[in-house]
């Protein structure tokens, strides 16, 4: 093949395609094709085998699953290098005209979980207003626009906010399972200009989405503090902001020699100019890795460190 093919996460897609474009514009290499198939879809295509018809790189907003790794192995995709390229903060945003707000993860959990403890028992979520949860919270209807079940962002939100929250709430006996379905939580497309309009129009509403989206709409939106921490780049990068995840991409090393420009692409993705704190991807909303972490990622790549099953456990 003469053209790099990249698939995978919709969260990484904007960064990945930006790097692809830069590569195409500044070198003689053909611009790689980047398709947003979702992390899972990307893994499926990526692990489908080696050769012309399979993608060279897959992006992911989560780590490869052992089952996916196994599929890769079974199909002869044995030499894979894993890289983290930055973080994605998941923010809870509202209209700029609202009063600034600070939500704890427990409060968010009580607002959107399907079941909450009440009088020692788990009952269907009875809360209609934030002030029902905690009188210190504003007297606003609960209305959260968030990612749909098919989205990885939803998964991360559930893991990082709701599961964590449920563990810390007294009386939440069993494990958290589900988001409420009574219209207080409205699944919405993530890359959707409408969500901005919705938040601007409905001052009650909150939106849950990736940090980059907040960044793009700073003129109309503001992020809520979570557990007292602002969704700011530095705070996410340092891990202080509690709701963030790593962004990955996986490279098929068997293709590196065969596909022109693959090395240049990965080099560029991990370069100062792109991925660092002064790099361009920051403008698109990527939370860059700390400097030393980025360096170590680069050396992993240089050495084509081979992903092992044991890496993925835990």
């Amino acid at each position: 093949a003469e053209q790099i093919r990249i698939v995978g996460s919709s969260t990484v897609y904007p960064f990945s395609s930006y790097v692809a474009e830069e590569l195409g514009a500044t070198t003689d290499i053909r611009t790689p094709v980047v398709e947003s198939t979702g992390s899972g879809g990307g893994m499926k295509l990526f692990c489908g085998g080696v050769g012309d018809k399979t993608p060279d790189i897959t992006n992911a907003s989560r780590r490869m699953k052992p089952s996916e790794f196994k599929m890769c192995q079974d199909n002869g995709v044995t030499d894979i290098t894993e890289n983290v390229v930055g973080f994605d903060g998941i923010v809870v945003a509202q209209s700029k005209q609202d009063d600034a707000i600070d939500l704890s993860r427990e409060q968010i959990t009580l607002a959107v979980a399907a079941k909450v403890p009440k009088d020692g028992k788990l009952v269907d979520n009875p809360y209609n207003k934030w002030s029902d949860i905690d009188s210190s919270l504003p007297d606003r209807e609960i209305l959260v626009y968030g990612p749909p079940t098919s989205s990885g962002t939803r998964d991360a939100f559930e893991e990082l906010v709701l599961e964590h929250g449920s563990e810390n709430i007294d009386g939440y006996g069993e494990a958290y399972t589900k988001i409420r379905q009574d219209g207080k939580y409205v699944p919405s497309g993530e890359n959707d200009n409408l969500i901005v309009k919705k938040l601007a129009q409905n001052k009650d509403a909150f939106g849950v989405f990736g940090f980059s989206y907040l960044e793009e709409n700073r003129d109309t939106l503001q992020g809520a503090k979570v557990d007292g921490v602002e969704p700011e780049r530095d705070l996410i990068s340092s891990g202080e902001y509690p709701v963030s995840r790593s962004l990955f991409f996986y490279t098929k090393n068997a293709h590196v020699e065969k596909v022109e420009g693959m090395k240049d692409y990965v080099d560029m993705f991990l370069s100062e100019q792109m991925a660092s704190d002064r790099g361009y991807l920051k403008n698109l909303g990527l939370i860059p890795l700390p400097e030393d972490r980025l360096k170590s990622e680069r050396s992993e790549w240089e050495s084509r460190a081979k992903l092992k099953a044991s890496d993925l456990k835990g």
Binding site: V33, D219, Y280
Partner: protein, 389 residues
Amino acid sequence: MSQGISLTPSRQLKKRYRAERRFKAYCVGALLLAMAFLVLFFADMIRQGHSAFVQTQIRAEVTYNEDTVKFTSEAVDESIAPLVSRAFFRAIPRRVENNPDLMGTTQSVWLTANADVDQYRKGYTDRLEPEMLSALERLTSEGNVGYGFNKGLFFSGDSKIPSNAGLWSAFVGTFYVMLVVLAVSFPIGVATAIYLEEFAPDNRFTQAVEININNLAAVPSILFGLLGLAIFINFFGVPRSSALAGGLTLSLMTLPVIIISTRAALRAVPQNIRQGAQAVGASRWQAIRDHVLPLSLPGILTGTIIGVAQAMGETAPLLLIGMIAYIPDAPTSMTEAATVLPAQIFTWAGMPERAYVSLTAAGILVLLSLLITLNATAVILRNRFERRW
């Protein structure tokens, strides 16, 4: 014997005439409503899209030297640099490489402004930093800011930089896809139509085929996407995202359109032409080849054009076969990744940057003018060659 019957309207008849007028008003109203929508729609698209056909440009002194090739943003004045599209800066090294004479010169050129500046000047957003605002004001008062035709919209591929984004790769992709659609669906469609209209015995099987074709014409397009994914890509191994995969999938959707209109065209050729030919000793196929097909050709072509135009606007099935992706380079073969105009529009419609809204509308205007041209061609062809027997 009825004498002196009155032929002027009676009172009762006047009442009936009022009902008559009311009914006609509903009918006219319905048509006007549909027309009004069309007007509203186009007005809205033009309102949203017209501004994307021009772009803010800024005249600046560009210096090419060793330094600026490395640190490209220093090629223009520090205060101006933030206003200029990144696409310009990143291309500096290659530009110098391709044209070494530039090295060491300073030139006054019109540069494309970045999307923020452009959107600000067009009155859509207001989020320029104060320094940028003042720089822009200064440049404007010096006459160094203006609008230029957005050539990139037609001649460059997709880009994550709105001011640099264009439809070229989608044009080329559309062209390839339509080639496949034509090459596959035209012969098969016409052959099927000839079979059904001229040869098929009137039995259960033929009826099943006919009903099946009519049904195919109304099967949800998304299901064709599932078919393309499962059969062409996964089973036959056609490369994902390729013009070939898209074209084959769309061919199957176009097939019924071509079959149905070809059959109509064949049916319009009077039976006595066939009989005349066969009565002088032509075989069935000779009669069709020599007389029926030439006569029905305009009708067949009309149907084909309409079918192709329909395929050209189709998006849903392409969602599933990977043609909605970031594909900025125009494909050079059937098996390379390609995107098409409606797919590009869909991609842009989902982009978070505000500038893509008017780009989307502009893309729509371009696509619609293509489609209307095609359809108008079909209508003219039909009117020109329509024969009454």
